[in-house]
Assembly symmetry: C3
Homo-oligomer: 469 residues x 3
């Protein structure tokens, strides 16, 4: 590898024979569209189709993968992010200079890989960032961002995205999604996703108010538990009517409990009164995760579960800059007992799709592959967040495939708010899949013919089937 | 790899130099007999030596590895398994068709690998199953199964099995083992294994009745705790007299406690009265695991411990089809503190062999290798169940060898009830061991001469020594 | 690999192209000095510069890695170690014979690798130990050990050690360190490390007495909590004045709590009275770990944390032979919630360096890389103890680098009391780093130019910066 940004064989295995095969498997899917059934791009971005403001606002500030490593190296967050109240905003050029100076930090990281791909294939650059060229690069990129060809919709088309799911508040009116759906000049599918965390987790600072708003918005007669449940069901229907295919749950743990309605209602009222203990909070969240499963069985929304992240680990940073600023830290989780109440009742329910994710790798071979290898409802969520990196994705494949095969995989999920990184992330996933399959073929564990079929299924069939696209 | 079933270099590493060496190491043990010191084949099978009924009854229904993945893909278990009460039994041909249709699901799985080996080397097939050839294949295999050469004893001989241990109820009269031992026409060793779970776990539905039967069978004067212990000791002696070399323990967790006899007797009586709490259940099970260790020290039975599986995770399936139907799901365990009371007292006891297994891979490097690397009693159980697959076995080797070397390994355990898969499983293990050793040699960490010695020890010396064969 | 002791390409990857690159990366750092910022060599050894007594006392008895595996194979510890009271001491020649006979046990282990390197490069041997040559080898090595060239200071120089940190009792007068520092004939840096475990863990048998000695030694007016804290601060200053750069904490878990001073004082008095519960013991230890962090922020000592080992697992062995005799067994830990109180307050404190270690590999990708990838204070401790082996170090690299890059690494830590193994351990680490980087280059994930820079940083810059050398 010279000092150019990317190499055609990046991420492929070193062994010449295996690499040849991996290259060929990769080539067989290179024209397939991107299916992105879970992510955090804002639908407004595509609806408005305005130019991206500047390189730092596009590539640095909103990407907590990038911000966090700069912070670890000693750059104060106030040089990278606006203050929570918006009163102080670092200059874009300052942010960009910090990033360019810190570029060597990203060697060997997933972020570095995605950024190099973007620089070369989205922005047509030929050399990596560095302190010396920071300003020139800023100017070059800024100019490009003004061009028609860098508008979100044109990029959406150039990226060959067929489906892009967003993640939305249950009370979002989905007007942006709607506008895109009826716009004859836009041909992609931009689907909302129902994400009710702030309405379910009673420890969320806005929970009580959210319940008020929720029941009011759906015309419920009161704010009772029953009305609350009806309101959630109503908003799910609204999302379905606007194209949603899944509901996503960012829970602390994957615990589920089936409570009697009276017990649940009692917990709900205790929470409304602000007197719930942390045990009651956990019980209510577990109950509601079960209820979300029950609703998915009834209304058909695919259920995705993303547990195990300790959010906002550094409180002073949260106070200063808000959430999603790079200090969510995973911890150990276990699905086996936690998810059992839900699976007892719905693990074989017709057309119920439950996609389980983890930030704790130990769960892959120990729990997820065995669960997905028995329950028709359970799909193996793709390696997520800190694990959506080349080596980690190889470990995932190795950990789950021998028990669950290839067919129980959800397909790749980019889970990103960094729009321009979407092709790079999917490309990296495809390269890892091709590398794993090439090794399977080289070790005579999968035939070459089947490897091509599996490669296609992994990239195309799996996400379509799992997410009912 | 063409579309043929197997390749001579299957499971060997892709690098040409390493592969050459692995092939040679594998060749050096190819004529060594199979030693199978832990498994679930029924001794009656060999005693009666009847033809296997049909391909589905041989290869599909009894193999929960196979059934589970078909079920996950949407095949109802009622199409694959008899109902628990035996009132409904799916037709063999139906089961077989489901399996053949679902064959691609097994790509990349351990089951798929074992099945391909069986199809080629046991049944002489030249192509994999598929929907189109399901009926023809069923007929072809059915015809073969009637031949003298496919009778269990002939296969036992052709498989080059020297020792096969079964797993047996403590009250089994071991008449099949006995008959085989005295039969001058049968030359293998078929050894019983003492498996007292249902007599020790007070949560087991039949526990109280089992205690009654146990004490009655051994002529104890009453059903007191002391008589219960005597009865277990007596049945262990009976097993030893009938050739048993080990006692196996399928516990929930590896907890051990040394209780005073009065305390244990009190717990026992509480359990007999049906009023034990779950904490008391756990304490009694931990106490009994300690007692089993104490008995092993005294009577010399090798003690094997298989913890960490949540049995019958999906209750509706258990109700419909019974246990061992593919929904036992592992969870996180820890040996370090749990097994300490036993090791305090018996970890250096003369001739005590304690083989520790895990379904939680995290235990390999963190606990098992350190324990087996200090305590003369502790042996590293082979990767078990979901982990007895090529990549998982490589991870095991990598995780334990640097701390515990090769000498603390128990040897491979097939743990299977699928008789015809035994050679394939041992062959896969040998291929993985050869591959690991070949890498060690290629990285100049083990000399080539020693690699051949270690290969022999791993396949032959280790199981003989660990299991006192 | 012939039967010679070592090969120039040992530990390098098998693929010829990757190996070539790894060899070149390794060559680029071969003349860099050894920086050993954490270990257990006694400063007296270098101060006195006496000949090592004999091969067994040098290479076997003090190395619990070696002793433990001999013990596991059946050699009684009384044949290898003195009794705790010193009344029985096995003969050196006996110990040596046991070791030579058991040599094949070490195949594939980290210990075996380090020993082979030592035999060849420190002692100039050309063949491995074996029963047949035990006595001859003992004589040959004994003779060498009398030579001037095998004195500790000459070896220190020949090993190219620039910095060697010891681990010391807070009341150590550091006279040996002092003598070395002012000795114009000795040119290395031998730095003390403040290790207060026995003064902080109230379950330590000597704790109460240690507090008496501590407060007396620093001239405190009484043995109150406040005096105790002052005394610890005073001894840290004493260590800093004598060259210490870090304080090390061998805690059971990484729990930290910030208690009010009155509450802490109350716990302290309860502990002094000998009536603390185990929950109070844990709370006090967690509080003191927080206090140690607070002191490090104030006085600048780098803080290293080594949790998760169950010390003296086999009590009979502890009774007979004392601590550090091979039966410390790791268990599962978690940093995310445990270390949070400390990081809340000091995670971004200026010049605070907190190096986190683990024996539980699951923590690498799940917690340590995310923590070190956000908090400027947190550095990734090198793979430690059972994990400082070639494959385990590769797993560490793979687990952390994609999230945290290379820049958050502490540098290699040998953590050894086996003086002659220091070069072998650092060499092994360099070989693993070169191998990992060579793969990154071969997979086009890091440029070749950057790989050389990263290689240098990893070996030289990282430990200097992390440990403020």
């Amino acid at each position: 590898m010279s000092d150019s940004l990317t190499h055609p064989d990046r991420l492929l295995p070193a062994d010449p024979g295996v690499r040849r095969l991996a290259r060929s498997l990769l080539g067989a899917v290179e024209n397939l569209p991107i299916l992105s059934p879970h992510g955090h791009v804002d639908a407004r971005l595509l609806r408005e189709n305005s130019p991206f403001p500047d390189p730092a606002a596009l590539l640095v500030s909103p990407d907590h993968y990038v911000v966090r490593l700069l912070h670890a190296s000693g750059v104060p967050l106030s040089n990278l992010l606006p203050s929570q109240d918006g009163s102080r905003v670092p200059g874009s050029r300052t942010v960009w200079r910090e990033f360019c100076t810190a570029w060597p930090l990203f060697d060997g990281t997933a972020s570095g890989h995605w950024l190099r791909d973007q620089f070369q294939f989205v922005f047509g650059l030929s050399q990596p960032p560095s302190a010396g060229i920071a300003d020139a690069l800023y100017d070059e990129l800024s100019a490009k961002l003004q061009a028609e060809s860098f508008r979100p919709r044109q990029l959406f088309k150039d990226f060959n995205i067929e489906v892009l799911a967003t993640t939305d508040d249950p009370l979002d009116d989905l007007s942006h999604h709607n506008a895109l759906a009826v716009d004859p000049t836009f041909h992609g599918r931009v689907l909302p996703t129902f994400r009710p965390d702030a309405y379910i987790n009673i420890a969320h600072p806005g929970w009580a108010e959210n319940v008020d708003r929720l029941t009011a918005a759906t015309g419920e007669p009161d704010t009772s538990y029953r009305s609350y449940i009806h309101a959630l069901e109503a908003r799910r229907r609204y999302f379905i009517d606007h194209g949603a295919v899944s509901a996503d749950h960012g829970v602390r743990t994957p615990a589920t409990i089936k409570l009697e309605e009276t017990e649940a209602a009692h917990l709900f009222e205790t929470a409304r009164a602000g007197t719930a203990t942390s045990a009651e909070r956990d019980a209510f969240e577990a109950h509601m995760l079960y209820q979300m499963g029950r609703m998915s069985v009834e209304d058909g929304l695919v259920m995705t579960v993303h547990p195990g992240s300790f959010r906002n680990h550094h409180h002073p940073t949260f106070e200063a800059h808000g959430a999603d600023t790079g200090h969510d830290i995973p911890f150990a989780i276990s699905y086996t007992e936690a998810i059992r109440p839900l699976l007892q009742d719905f693990g074989t329910a017709k057309d119920f799709h439950l996609v389980l994710f983890t930030l704790d790798e130990t769960v892959f071979s120990r729990e997820l592959a065995p669960l997905a290898g028995f329950y028709p409802a359970v799909y193996l969520g793709a390696p997520w967040w800190f694990l959506d990196a080349p080596d980690a994705m190889q470990r995932f494949r190795s950990a789950v495939t021998e028990t669950a095969g290839f067919s129980r995989f959800s397909g790749f999920i980019d889970d990103t708010r960094a729009f321009c990184s979407i092709p790079a992330r999917h490309e990296a996933s495809r390269r890892v899949e091709a590398s794993f399959l090439a090794r399977m073929v080289a070790e005579h564990r999968v035939t070459e013919n089947r490897a091509y079929e599996i490669m296609f299924d992994t990239v195309d069939t799996s996400p379509r089937r799992t997410f009912k696209l």
